[in-house]
């Protein structure tokens, strides 16, 4: 299995559907118009993710993990640089949390909920496409290094793991914040996604 077979445009569209749903939910939640863009998408073996993220991210990260199980199984993570995470929590709550740029408990709760909305929306879009039910674990927030993030990824017991890595941009009334969505899956799940995307394009 290589990543060449994947219809990149169809996958981008699928992510966009999920992010559009997420943006609608977040707008309702916060009472302000929120847009989530997807400027770029990469699909690569998980071993290559470290180098790629190393080029994209600096310092400590705030991550929200959510394991998903069903016909497709893997680990979905919202990845933000620490300062971006504090900024996003601040923007989402109109300055209600993350005073002084610190991720206090309330800020972490807000980010966990935001991560939950984004990850669930995207994974639900995958579930809808595959016509399967995907169940989700309780999301968890961590402040960790890039190495810690990659060590903590939980994927099924297959030898080959792949990462769908999407650059995202949150646009809110008072500012913008960049982040990444990382969906780590095994070879079987990726093959299912690839086939479903191909069937979707043909229909």
């Amino acid at each position: 299995m290589t990543t060449d077979r994947i219809d990149h445009d169809a996958l981008t569209e699928l992510f966009n559907i999920g992010l559009h749903r997420a943006a609608a939910s977040l707008s309702e939640l916060t009472g302000q118009r929120i847009v989530v863009d997807l400027p770029r998408l990469w699909i690569c073996p998980i071993e290559e993710t470290h180098q790629r993220l190393l080029e994209l991210l600096n310092g400590d990260l705030a991550t929200v993990h959510q394991i998903f199980k069903g016909s497709v199984t893997g680990d979905a993570v919202l990845v933000l640089e620490y300062q971006s995470a504090a900024r996003l929590a601040d923007l989402m709550t109109d300055g209600g949390v993350a005073a002084g740029g610190r991720l206090d408990q309330s800020a972490r709760e807000v980010l966990t909920e935001v991560g939950n909305v984004i990850l669930s929306s995207c994974l639900s879009a995958f579930g809808d496409m595959l016509h399967v039910t995907v169940t989700f674990s309780v999301p968890r927030i961590h402040v960790e290094s890039l190495e810690g993030l990659l060590r903590s990824l939980q994927v099924d017991n297959e030898d080959l793991h792949f990462a769908l890595l999407a650059a995202t941009r949150f646009r809110l009334t008072e500012g913008e914040v960049g982040g990444y969505l990382l969906i780590a899956v095994g070879m079987t799940s990726l093959a299912l996604i690839t086939d479903a995307l191909a069937a979707r394009e043909e229909s």
Partner: protein, 403 residues
């Protein structure tokens, strides 16, 4: 991260244990079947709601809490039935179940909650819903206090930065001109000067130089706060220093019709201290007393034992008890109308107290509105041998002790 974070898979026999666990962990644990009928209602929820499990179990949740119907809570429960997990932060929702706030939180009518709504699995299928509720009312109140304190600190810090930037420039420029013209006059470069005029010119010049030194001290305020202001100690005869300071204020006392008196011990009193800093404190305190006293007297009294105590008394308007607690806060003038009529930066007293700490002593105030004010400054006979930097960093919560 645990090895497995699958949605919760529990047999019916495990539910009582889960409910007990919630009580130990101070969590509300609510379990529902797929139709959202209450299966389990732990003791924590019973205590918080006043409804015993026997009154709740077997009844539809949306009948028990009508307000949840059609709202995001019902939506989250329905999503859990279809396999999704929902996180509920108090910032966006305040609470999941409308329960009263715990006692002592008058600002909150309802308990502030975070919640997790997640599917309960059996045999690979969703069998019900688990809701975990945590009361964060106290934490939210504490965080709000911290945010307010931080906001105040940021405002104060900004005020300080703005002040330093603008005042240093505004004060230095005219003072340089004053000193320059004083030099011309005193040097008789624009005509002869009578001896009495020369004396007065000398005093004006001395006062001008002192003003320049005050500006420099203001600029070092942040250094004192950070414990980075060095001490330059030497043996000082402090009765003479007190007399020097008195001389500075004689003209002002004459102009205002005030009695200015200095009472010092008969013999010389030698102290190893930083004379510039001690002098600045006394000038600040006497200057304040002169500024705010419109009638009566201003006294500087000095006592020397194992320490030297200066008391500066005035018959001015005094200070309200409520204001005494913040009189040493930087950039604070208790009465803003006085700022306009009397001038001043609001830094004199905080700088004086920090300098007193730096010298190893302390500065206190006693006052009653309408009955004048007494500032008491004490310094050790030898400053700078203990840890002056440590003293400079001391906070008001750690008093240096009474004289």
């Amino acid at each position: 991260m645990p090895a497995d974070e699958s949605p919760i898979s529990l047999g019916a026999e495990s539910l009582p244990m889960l409910h007990d666990l919630g009580e130990v962990l101070e969590l509300g644990i609510l379990t529902l079947d797929r139709e959202l009928t209450v299966r389990g209602w732990n003791r924590w929820l019973a205590a918080a709601s006043g409804a015993e499990p026997s009154e709740v179990v077997g009844r539809p949740l949306l009948e028990l809490f009508e307000g949840l119907r059609g709202g995001p809570a019902e939506e989250a429960l329905r999503r859990a039935v279809s396999g999704s997990t929902t996180v509920w932060s108090h910032r966006f929702h305040r609470y999941f179940l409308p329960l009263p706030a715990p006692p002592g939180h008058e600002g909150f009518a309802a308990m502030q909650q975070i919640a997790r709504v997640t599917p309960l699995m059996r045999g690979g299928a969703v069998d019900g819903v688990l809701v975990l509720i945590q009361d964060v009312t106290e934490r939210v109140a504490r965080e709000e206090e911290l945010h307010e304190a931080l906001r105040r600190a940021e405002v104060a810090s900004q005020a300080k930065s703005d002040f330093l930037a603008s005042m240093s420039h505004e004060l230095r420029t005219p003072l340089s001109a004053i000193v320059g013209y004083m030099d011309l006059l005193e040097g008789e470069m624009v005509g002869s000067v009578a001896p009495l005029q020369k004396t007065y010119l000398g005093r004006v010049k001395s006062a001008a130089h002192h003003l320049i030194s005050i500006i420099e001290e203001i600029l070092t305020f942040s250094r004192v706060e950070a414990g980075k202001e060095p001490l330059h100690t030497e043996v000082v005869e402090v009765t003479a220093l007190a007399r020097d300071v008195e001389e500075l204020f004689e003209p002002q006392a004459l102009r205002k019709g005030l009695t200015l008196s200095v009472a010092v011990p008969d013999g010389p009193v030698a102290v190893r201290t930083d004379p510039t800093k001690l002098r600045q404190i006394l000038i600040n305190l006497l200057g304040n007393a002169m500024k705010f006293t419109d009638a009566g007297r201003v006294c500087l009294e000095m006592e020397a034992t194992d320490r030297v105590v200066f008391r500066i008394r005035d018959t001015g308007p005094g200070i309200n008890a409520a204001d005494l607690g913040r009189i040493f806060d930087p950039f604070t003038q208790l009465d803003q109308s006085l700022k306009r009529t009397k001038g001043g930066t609001g830094l004199g007293l905080p700088v004086s107290r920090r300098l007193a700490h730096l010298l190893g002593g302390d500065l206190r105030v006693e006052s009653t509105a309408g009955q004048g004010t007494t500032f008491t400054l004490w310094v050790p006979r030898t400053s700078g041998q203990s840890s002056p930097a440590g003293d400079a960093r001391r906070t008001d919560a750690e008093p240096a002790g009474q004289p």
